[in-house]
Symmetry: D3
Subunit: 247 residues, 6 copies
């Protein structure tokens, strides 16, 4: 089985670290191709950046999907996820949605712990857009400047653990999701310190993608996820133009 | 990996047919033990029967969980699921919840197609109890007498297909879930006839259970799914009495 | 008029204390029969215990309903209430639902004050299951060990009053419900100390049951509360087996 | 026990017919005083009329409450109910709210059947305002001219029965409420023709008022239902001016 | 364009101050007529007073609407707004609704800051009644005695600013609405002190009324806002009697 | 006042026709600049196209906003609206949101009538994303092939009128919104044929934009609509790169 992991951020090292975490949780026989968005911000943290990333995800998917069995949109917040599902002929999962769905099976309410308050808003809107905010206890964010996003997981670990415990004590969280690609791996590393299940998006997404491939549902030919027909378009990358041409 | 499939109904052939469907979707290396509820009705179809089955599921779980990595409550409607999660030290999934969570990744709204209108009510309440009714387009039931529940899937196939198409045309369903153990396998068999993804609960539950085992979340020691402490009880089976004794 | 009060807990003294409170609020001419669940935990406080109690309530109802005009499920959390309504040919009320419906007529938001945080979760889920959580301001629980549940009402009275005032001051509660059989009577005793209406479940349930008997609605023969037809079953008590036999 | 029944409409014969229905369902020892609004339309059917009636209810209550144990606002739609609760030192119930709360104990979803489509809107808004629309299956209205509102119950009985059956068949209603004072008595008369419980507002309100009197909750001195302090006002009736004077 | 501003309170100076604020935001060519309710309390702060004001608004509208292009109900809480829309042949806006709709275009969540906790309840219920509470972050009220309502805006300015900042910091408010006619003008005066957009109702209502006049939608002749037909009524003012006469 | 109208579609004639409709409803003294998206599909009708358009709107806004007082995103569905509000220092409105907010002031429920069923889904999701779906009665779509989108308004006028009447008769719509730029003008032209108010997005948006300019709310410096700080980005147009550079 081949999974395409698309990093909607344009930071290549983040792609590599998410790919490593994905590989750790993949079944034997699952191969992961990791690609980085072709344009956009280093690290998505607000609606402007998420809107641009939505386009970038589609372009990456149109360019790289061939030969894969499923794709993963690997920025918490799931930019462009629904559009990607419409575009692709293979299943597509998002790392936020996958973690939320997994949390559903492990507790009554979940909290998301993340790095900045701007992300908090995005993640709240993401949960609501997915129709999965009914059990969202809180999104808790550090409110400190993050000098180096790739070091944040280790540098702010104590503060992140404090937010987890507040989510449990004050918000009645029964599952903790670490939100944001730069925190990939923390759920695993912190499991011993937190008295409820901890999840991150990448590992959940790998397993959800594998499940969909195994279940092998057909691509819809009716409804809003059927592949749209050809239509004139302009100014897009060759791969997306091929999609609009219907080829 | 060893999965325990618990049939909350007391009909042994239904257990066997669900076990066969489960095996078909399990990963290589996954072994399935299938057990049948020790007491209760032949086939659960209303709240009285579901309430009794909730107890029966706990008893089966307390009796058989040892040596398994995860358990599946295998009656659509998921009787006793949340209680089972509280009782068990291993992950527990339900076949209804698993199918609904899978549907979340495949379309915007899902419909459940089932055999009787009494089941319709139960499944509506199940979706609501799981907090997953926000995308439930409809539950569509045949309203005909079912002479033999084990033959129903084949005998009423045309009528079931008609309800699927009505769900798509009239209710804007974009995913179809076949509800009820006796329909296990129909999602697979009917995929070619229905223009949107079709799911059934058993196959989804196997893959969700495998995903949870792989993700290996810790058992909560805080919150409402922590294992309750010992407490005096009476009149229960030996396995459940051991649970209340804290042994 | 004869009311059957079913204590889903297996603690006989609690049955007697609830029966006494019930008698205090019953109309002249109303007679109360109080019975105790035949199996299950001493005092229900989580989903495992509530699931078992759901079965125990059905068994008690099938055994004792004859000759009564209505029945009361007398554990806050209302285990098995909806199933009991389906089973019985007489009206059935729950003490939690009755208190919530009464609160609806007395204020804009209500809080439930109870003994333990595990009960808090159960009561939240109960309010939601009844569709009556829209005005639930909070469930406030003492978080202290309860050495003797039958003495808790008096022993922790000061702490319970503090939680009531917090519910009013911080959660905008306009009605207080004391949750849990062991607190029966406290609403009456504490009325002078709390500046908003106080309720407990048993007294409300007695009056709701009487109201239903007086209104004399017919038993449904359509819909999900019609009495189910006979069906094979196994392993159940004689009274429940008679129900499944349709006799 | 003395109950004050306030008809917010200015039609005296309707007051008498509702009083008769109320008396039929009152306990022995309950005495009913029935009064008619001093100003406003003959029969309330829209928001303009309901807004005027809200004022008329307060005036009637301020004038007549003395010497009564509870009051009933007896127009389905409950004009001025929440304000009346704030004004009065005795419990106040509405006939719509009482019927909806009673329906909660009898089935999963209820429908209201009424005479005109303008009432339908009002009743929908009433259910929503009370926070009780979560189980409202439908409001079904005859769409015919009503020549004489006092004869409508008998004249349109067949058409009303047809709407009841549609509510059951098409809307999944499990309880039917007849909405509107002119239909008082129909729930009782039609019980044999409809396969689910039928309710009307007046009888339910009598029993809910009696229940509140028996439970004897204290009048709030905190929150939004505490009696407001004195305040200058102008142009109101003597009884309301006394309320604003704080006398 | 001529706008009719109706003050549902009976305090003339408040009418003048709202008229002045309205004039400040009106387009060139817009003329404002300001009238004061003919009966009711000095300053509406609870449901009793709002119910009376609903009637007073209708009377003022029936008396003064002629010759105007649109009307404004100028008490935050919008007493009688929906009824006024049904009565009038011109568009009618409320100052609370107008501010909430404007807030929708400026941020994700809004808070209302007001003078007393009794108003808080009213404004919460107003937002809910308008179906606009989904983005209501909080209603924050000073909890101090207000000796002179006409001076409150200046006298309590510091405390009001503190509540604004708490709404932003603690409730995630992104827009602040000052609720209550006596605070008219504060949104403008405080804009420099608050880091998010600030609104008050009067200015927003003027612009919303102008927008409706320009868009010139037809008066409904179907649905619940069509003008009701004539109907017997009694005890109303001459202008309202003319409405009921259909003249 | 200068308004920037951005057509997220890449069809220039549609831009011109929307600009003409906008001009018709603009106040004297309001000048409208109309620009067309630089890349993307001819006419947006699904999530893939809306995601690309979100990026295109940001690029157009970054390029053309200077010198304008407010901007209008002029595709029903409002692609990129929230992101545009975050990016811009001037108010930004969407034509769908503006029409929905206007409908709020004119009736209890609104329906959207549009050309294709794919648009129906998008508009449903748009209403939900805006938190304005609580009063959405239905989205009704013609289900016919549209040979020439620019002629559709006239060619399918009869069918569109039929859908309007169905929305009123069957869905209880009290306001009709015509959805989609190609229908601009129809609300005005059809007003005489439809018994409830009719709206289109462009005219409403012009007036909402003017209202915001007049109210002159400050740009947030806190919360999720504050302008984000500079951040490295790549592969974007010069105007967007300037935004990321913070210049």
């Amino acid at each position: 089985m081949r999974l395409l992991l698309i990093n909607p951020n344009t930071t290549e090292p983040m792609t590599q670290s998410m790919a490593a975490e994905a590989a750790r949780f993949a079944s034997a026989g699952t191969e992961i191709t990791a690609v980085t968005a072709g344009f956009g911000p280093q690290y998505i943290a607000n609606r402007v950046e998420a809107a641009i990333a939505g386009h970038a995800v589609l372009e990456a998917l149109a360019t790289h999907a061939d030969g894969h069995d499923a794709a993963i949109v690997a920025a918490f917040g799931d930019p462009g996820l629904a559009a990607a599902r419409e575009l692709a002929s293979i299943p597509v999962v998002g790392i936020a949605e996958s973690a939320m769905l997994t949390a559903w099976m492990l507790g009554r309410r979940y909290s998301i712990v993340c790095l900045t308050s701007r992300l908090r808003t995005w993640y709240q809107e993401c949960a609501r857009e997915h129709g999965l905010d009914g059990r969202l206890a809180s999104v808790r964010a550090l409110d400190v400047p993050i000098p180096d996003i790739t070091q944040a997981k280790d540098q702010f670990r104590a503060a992140l653990m404090t937010e987890c415990m507040r989510a449990i004590d004050d918000d009645e969280a029964e599952v903790i999701i670490f939100g944001g690609g730069p925190l990939a791996g923390l759920a695993r590393e912190a499991a011993g310190d937190i008295p409820v299940p901890t999840l991150d998006g990448v590992s959940c997404a790998v397993r959800m993608a594998e499940a969909l491939v195994a279940l092998n549902p057909r691509k819809a030919t009716r409804g809003s996820f059927a592949r749209p027909g050809p239509k004139p378009a302009k100014g897009l990358s060759p791969a997306l133009m091929r999609f609009f041409d219907g080829s």
